[in-house]
Symmetry: C2
Subunit: 179 residues, 2 copies
DNA sequence: GTCTATAGTTTGATAGAC
DNA sequence: GTCTATCAAACTATAGAC
């Protein structure tokens, strides 16, 4: 619900109806709405990125690991749209404490592996920026999915994680493949 | 205010205080909150992307126009963080009507020019997907700015539009420069 | 651990004076 | 065009019975 409507768009009553207890009973389990939200985020973000990190740290050439990373990342985003929406809402709404939690709990692991891969792919490039670019290249295709059908050339298959992965892998391979 | 806190995070009283009139007076100018929001969006989005389209449609080689596009796009995002936030909130919260308005009012012009450039740069590539990739490559650096300082290698200059533009231009030039 | 009842606040929106 | 006053509903949160 928070993924779909945001923090202030979801009330304690909405939540209580969804879980089938009264709003008052929610306050037996959580001290207030803020805390309920934080625990929901902590749960939603736990272990989500482990597969990404594993794909990056496996064996193979840097290009093979790049391809596995892109496949794994697009797969995760396609399988769990709520996770993606929650992340992007946190980037818009999160205060320092929440952003630090997200950074440490979901981004840090894969990001370290991504910067390591970035240094292999392009040693002369800033690895931090290249890691961000690789992630953005994937994420933006999902982020823009609801609006792309109103844009020229937009077709349903552009929302297919496999199609997105192939496109991104080819683009990055062109940039870092034979250099 | 909508950029910072979202639709349901801003009340009519908040707005009335910010503009210095009573909440009741707002209803003399707008029939309801929804309509006020739509008019605010229509205003915020008008002519925002004209500079991008101009950069893409100017003279020069495709690589020169690519570089001008990236400079122009990063400049816009750096100069107007609220515009970027509003766009990303619309992608998360917009219904069909609002997304169509955004698509036609802000995305369509530059996107058509971007797909045209994409076909020049990489005829064998899907121009729709490549245009999305070029945009995401730029936008994600701004979207992740608040969290990147908690990630390894994150430095303040990574938020500088000029640094971002140089990075993205180099990456895209590597992919499409000498092919 | 869940409920009903409710306190106290904030919300979107309206009525009517000026 | 703006105001004060206000309504009805929804909100977060608490009290107290079971």
């Amino acid at each position: 619900m928070f993924a779909a409507r945001g923090y202030s768009g979801v009330s304690m009553r909405h939540i209580s109806q969804a879980v089938g207890i009264s709003a008052a009973a929610l306050y037996h389990h959580f001290p207030d709405k803020e805390n309920l939200y934080l625990e929901a985020m902590a749960h939603a973000f736990t272990d989500k990125a482990a597969g990404i990190t594993a794909a990056l740290e496996g064996s193979g050439t840097s290009l093979e690991r790049l391809e596995r990373f892109v496949d794994s990342f697009t797969g995760l985003m396609g399988d769990d749209p709520d996770f993606r929406a929650l992340l992007q809402r946190e980037l818009l709404d999160g205060d320092e404490i929440r952003l630090k939690l997200v950074a440490e709990r979901v981004f840090l692991g894969p990001f370290q592996a991504m910067t390591a891969l970035a240094e292999e792919l392009a040693p002369e490039c800033d690895p931090h920026m290249l890691a961000i670019s690789m992630a953005g290249l994937v994420l933006f295709h999902f982020e823009t999915a609801p609006v792309r059908r109103f844009l020229p050339g937009g077709r349903p298959e552009h929302n297919d994680p496999k199609i997105i992965a192939r496109h991104v892998t080819r683009l990055l391979s062109r940039a870092f493949g034979d250099g």
